[in-house]
Amino acid sequence: MQFTLVVYGAPHASEGANTALRFARAVLASGHGIYRVFFYGDGVHNGSALVAPPQDEQDLLSQWQDLKIAHNLDLTLCIAAAQRRGVLNDSEASRLEKPSGNMADGFELAGLGQLAEAAAVSDRIVTFGS
């Protein structure tokens, strides 16, 4: 079965992103697929390369990136939500005349159409709140 996960929670602000990561691991371990993880609203902060949690705390970013590498996950940030919150890739940063991009490796920016497409293609959508 194909799952799509929608993540509304920013890391360290709510538990949603951490729960989504645990659920994603369980989905993959159960032999199901993840079509897309769509980060929406404050959830786009999960895709910032600049987060620097203390060493004795969870590093959600590197865990998402490891999971992406291991399972070729599609990690998509809502572009409109990301622009408002200052999560930009290099080309967006240059287009918007900002000093630098800060989007982490492994993530992509896309519109809500990509969520609609994932909803059409996936068997299940699970939302993780803020």
């Binding site: 079965m1 538990e15 949603g16 645990r22 369980a26 989905v27 959508i125």
Partner: protein, 93 residues
């Protein structure tokens, strides 16, 4: 049949109450994150007669002992609940 996932404590908002007002016969309810505070004490009376599950690691993290009327599950069982139900609705506000 719908799987309702509630993540907000019953003591900090109306998510559980709102969920129960939309609950239909055959639906299932999963308590995660702070909603596990509904898995013991008086709040469970409103869950009687329903298929109710509680994510055990979240209850353990909060020192909550889950009422025997509620089924304690792990993430793997959560995934299988998702395959058994459609749609899956999250209540977090």
């Amino acid at each position: 049949m719908t799987l309702h996932i509630v993540s907000q404590s019953p003591f900090s908002g109306s998510a559980l109450k709102d969920c129960l007002s939309a609950f239909a016969d055959g639906d299932a309810l999963l308590l995660i994150e702070d909603a596990v505070y509904a898995a013991k004490g008086q709040t469970i009376t409103q869950l009687k007669g329903k298929s109710v599950y509680c994510l055990e690691p979240d209850a353990v993290a909060r020192g909550i002992s889950i009422d025997p009327a509620i089924e304690a599950i792990d993430e793997t069982r959560w995934v299988s609940l998702c395959t058994e139900h459609n749609p899956i609705v999250s209540w977090f506000r």
